[in-house]
């Protein structure tokens, strides 16, 4: 029987790789019997979904915090000017 810790590690790895048949079965059996790990699996899926939205820029969040400030813009402009020509 897999422990919860082992199960959480396999659930994580399943997001990146295909688990072996034995591993998949082990996880499935553990999940049948452990509601906490079932909850964790859902949470992992949510985290992936949320991060994907973030990556695609489809999140509607604070524009000011994620834009170059006017000061930063000036600094970059100066650096570019110094390096051109």
């Amino acid at each position: 029987m897999l422990s919860c810790k082992e199960t959480t590690e396999l659930l994580s790895r399943a997001q990146d790789e295909r688990l072996s048949f034995t591993e998949r079965m082990g996880v499935r059996i553990h999940l049948l019997m452990c509601h906490l790990c079932r909850g964790y699996e859902k949470q992992l899926r949510f985290i992936r979904k949320a991060t994907e939205s973030l990556a695609q820029g489809s999140s509607h969040d604070d524009e000011a915090a994620t834009s170059l400030s006017p000061e930063a813009r000036e600094r970059v402009k100066d650096a570019l000017r110094q390096n051109q020509g």
Partner: protein, 205 residues
């Protein structure tokens, strides 16, 4: 689009606009991309600068096969990986992570069972529609220990394969990478649990 009437040396590749417009047109886009991966505004700003400088030097090589923005983004991705590699050289990771405990391990007892009843989240997808959620998620990613954040970002945001990440970050085995990703995800789960889901007023979950 400006034509390069006074371009620095008149040597833009065909189809490439004047570099002076790049900052205005793509600056925020590039900054946002870098910030998501590196979390520190000052570092992200430097990377934007390095990217634009590198692009100016490389502008003759723009083949016009992709859009300008895609081309600039390609340059930026390389700069980001270079930066991450440099940071890792400055603070090397002990190679066998499986032997080093992480704070996330505290959630399990000696038998590997959860030692506390972790909470579940009902209807978490609703969070995706709430503006206040995103800074929290960004903050949780930014709060990860640096090595874990790097692996997580390259995997989740850039979609690199395990092998590609191991190569980019000089990680010796995919096993170590998987330990890192598992820890990152567990920490993120806890961070969101504490900072978002427990703070949502009753009835709004």
């Amino acid at each position: 689009m400006n034509s390069s009437t006074h371009a620095q040396s008149g040597e833009n590749a065909p189809g490439l606009s004047n570099p002076e417009t790049w900052l205005d047109n793509y600056g925020d886009y590039l900054y946002r991309y870098a910030l998501l991966r590196l979390s520190e505004p000052a570092v992200a700003e430097d990377i934007v600068q390095e990217t634009l400088l590198g692009a100016i030097k490389a502008r003759k090589s723009f083949a016009g096969k992709s859009s300008e923005r895609t081309w600039l983004l390609g340059i930026m991705k390389n700069k980001i990986v270079d930066y991450i590699r440099k940071r890792r050289r400055e603070r090397p990771v002990d190679q066998d992570l499986t032997k080093i405990p992480d704070s996330a391990d505290d959630l399990f007892d000696a038998h590997g069972q959860w030692n506390t009843d972790i909470s579940s989240w009902s209807h978490p997808d609703k969070s995706l529609e709430q503006e206040q959620f995103w800074p929290i998620l960004r903050g949780c990613i930014a709060g990860l220990p640096e090595q874990l954040a790097q692996a997580f970002v390259l995997r989740e945001i850039d979609g690199m394969t395990s092998e590609e990440i191991c190569q980019a970050l000089d990680i010796s085995s995919t096993n170590n990478l998987w330990v890192m990703l598992s820890r990152a995800r567990l920490r993120l789960r806890n961070c969101l649990d504490a900072n978002w889901f427990d703070n949502v007023p009753r009835g709004n979950r």
